[in-house]
Symmetry: C2
Subunit: 228 residues, 2 copies
């Protein structure tokens, strides 16, 4: 679910280690009856809201999605970003526990929750893949709890950049799909602190920014920045 997840797409070489049975792009392989309905969401529109009945499971074809929780006073915590190839929208109960919104214009494939459940009940292999996918999400959540509970602002931003670079192909070049506000709400910081941390990394030559969204990073120098 979150940044650590493998996100192979058809247009990008998969530089991730092989994930047995947890690979979203193979999730419904050999299940021709589960083809998925294409659908589009515009930038900054809600896909589903917290508390709504969970009707669909989603697989991203292109674009990016955030899932988050929002407190009554407006404080927001983004739990995960989902990129092309990722699956999201599973729920243990009938209702969605998170809100999902498109960060950019996003194409998805819809699968009815019921049909996915039915498939899992019939097909042991599919059930195992769904389970492993959920376990992968849990693992990512565990890493994120460590980040939110015990890491400094600079460590959070550095870890975020390293992880998303890996997800986007690992060629040191990153086109951030999300705003500073989204990064801040994912990392448990304010936009100002995110910005200052980025500036700090840039002044140490660990990253090079060209525009707010495009950057080139040096993993070795980023890690060196954390040692002082």
């Amino acid at each position: 679910m979150s940044l650590v997840a493998a996100t192979p797409t058809s247009v990008r070489p998969n530089t991730q280690p092989f994930r047995p049975a947890g690979n979203p792009s193979e999730m419904f392989a050999g299940c021709p009856e589960l083809v998925g309905t294409p659908f589009n969401y515009a930038r900054e529109t809600e896909i589903y809201g917290e508390g709504e009945t969970a009707e669909f499971v989603y697989r991203i074809v292109s674009g990016a999605v955030r899932t988050c929780k929002i407190l009554a006073d407006g404080r927001r915590q983004i739990n995960a970003f989902h990129l092309a190839g990722d699956l999201f929208g599973f729920e243990p109960g009938e209702a969605h526990r998170l809100t999902a919104e498109a960060i950019a214009d996003t194409k998805v494939l819809l699968f009815s929750r019921r049909s996915v459940q039915d498939l899992a009940n019939r097909n042991v292999e599919a059930a195992r893949r769904l389970w492993n996918s959920t376990l992968q999400n849990l693992e990512d959540a565990e890493d994120h709890m460590l980040l939110l509970g015990r890491r400094t602002a600079l460590e959070r931003v550095a870890a975020f950049l390293l992880t998303i670079e890996k997800r986007l192909g690992g060629n040191r070049c990153v086109e951030l799909p999300m705003s500073r506000r989204d990064m801040a709400d994912y990392l448990g910081l304010t936009i100002e602190t995110v910005s200052r941390s980025m500036t700090q990394l840039q002044s140490k030559r660990a990253i090079a920014l060209s525009g707010a969204r495009h950057l080139v990073l040096d993993a070795r120098l980023i890690n060196k920045c954390l040692d002082d």
Copy 2:
């Protein structure tokens, strides 16, 4: 996995809402071949370490367990507390991603990871229960990320006390199984801040402490404390 999970035991009435198929105490019902081997862990001993090969899945009979991650410099984040009835030790890969330690003297039932996997491959119903159990853990992790990323110290301690009271039977009376250090490392705070928050709640009559581990709480007054 964490504090929101239902934890019915045979000696305590279940005051939780019914959780279809996710109930740990029924997890292996109807599977007499999966009986589990009793085992004991003394207080403050390691059950398994991060990175070790995952051989077993554990179900707690009595006692309490924490699972955590530790950084090289000693910073620790506890992901979850497990009480009687809880299942823990699932892993998506071959290796444990967390360290598990007994908080108190703890009796568990061991199930070999392989036999659990085999059961899930044969028995669709068991697979569904395991999947739902993992989804429940993920849901708890999502709640905890909001707490760690966006809540104040007082809110964290208040939420923790309310949740653990519910898990321990919901009769307003709590015998904390863990130390202040464990609470702090779960809530992303220091022991001093946890202590000060408890004192603050006590001065508002929202909780009554008798000894560090025993307390009676008033849910309404706790929520009122958060409004100023």
